[in-house]
């Protein structure tokens, strides 16, 4: 019964959306706020990558909410999985390639991750993408050497302070009499590494936060001890 209702619902939804497809002219969006943001963002925010100025400037609180969601998900997953801190040695050691490759690739991943974060306001990429790569960099040794464990205490400190500094940067603007999360500092020349005011700082905070959350999530999932 439930399956039938569900199917009917999904089918009906699809039919309805297909029927109205002719009413939407995709490909020529109205861009009521998009256009204004494009023309104003170089002066107001100063990031060459306009998506970055939207993510961290115009819609900064969305990004804060998103960090909070990741934090909530990681905390909840920690509640679900991470109550014991014993690692059994049952896991096989990673193979030769994994072991040495992991050690070899670690600095590269780290560099790439930070590079992407630092250039988030200039080129595609930024805190999220760089953060994911950082998480991968720290997770890889874990796969290669099952005995090795991420230092959860250090991770949670990074996690806490990266998240807190995002909010504190926002609050600093508030203390200066501006609005919460208003971009500050001088904006310098468009397109250079030191530009766009506080945006790169925010992206570093985002990158570290995302990296730390994901690394702790992954390490929680990877520990293979049984519940007993």
């Amino acid at each position: 019964m439930r399956n039938l209702t569900g199917l009917l619902f999904a089918g009906g939804l699809g039919f309805m959306l297909l029927a109205i497809a002719s009413g939407i002219d995709f490909g020529t969006p109205p861009m009521r706020i998009g256009e204004a943001i494009q023309s104003a963002s170089p002066q107001e925010v100063g990031a060459a990558n306009i998506v970055t100025s939207v993510v961290l400037g115009y819609r900064g609180i969305d990004t804060l909410g998103e960090l909070a969601i990741l934090f909530a998900a990681a905390s909840a997953a920690g509640l679900v999985l991470g109550r014991r801190h014993t690692t059994t040695g049952t896991q096989r050691k990673g193979g030769f390639v994994l072991f040495h490759g992991g050690a070899l690739i670690f600095p590269f991943l780290l560099t790439i991750g930070f590079y992407i974060i630092f250039h988030g306001h200039l080129t595609p990429g930024g805190g999220f993408q760089g953060g994911v790569i950082l998480a991968a960099a720290f997770f890889l040794p874990l796969l290669a050497r099952p005995g090795a464990r991420l230092h959860h205490s250090i991770l949670s400190v990074i996690e806490a302070f990266a998240g807190a500094s995002f909010i504190l940067i926002g609050l600093a603007a508030l203390a200066e009499g501006q609005a919460f999360l208003q971009p500050m500092l001088n904006q310098d020349t468009l397109g250079s590494l030191i530009s766009a005011g506080t945006l790169p700082l925010l992206y570093i905070a985002v990158g570290l936060k995302v990296g730390a959350e994901l690394a702790s999530l992954l390490s929680n999932l990877a520990q293979t001890e049984s519940e007993q």
Partner: protein, 103 residues
Amino acid sequence: MSEVELWIALILGIMMLSSAVLALVVKNHLAAVAAASVVSLGLALLFALMRAPDVAMTEAAVGAGLSSLILALALRRLGLWQIDSGSENSNLLSASSKGKDDA
């Protein structure tokens, strides 16, 4: 918009839709995860085609990379990590033939 883009989009679209179906009907869970990550990968390419490089990078890193890693790790912990179809695999098709794998 060039003809080439159109063809690429068409091929990617068909590929994604068929892997989406595959991800839900295939018996083996590992294969299903692989099919789902094909969907993400196709999505990342589509995003690149749609002039959304930021989104494409994120989707490639998060959707195709991280998400597949999470699912694969979960499969290992769930004991569903097997290359051959095992007894516990079940999917859309086995919903109708539920009786046989109740053991």
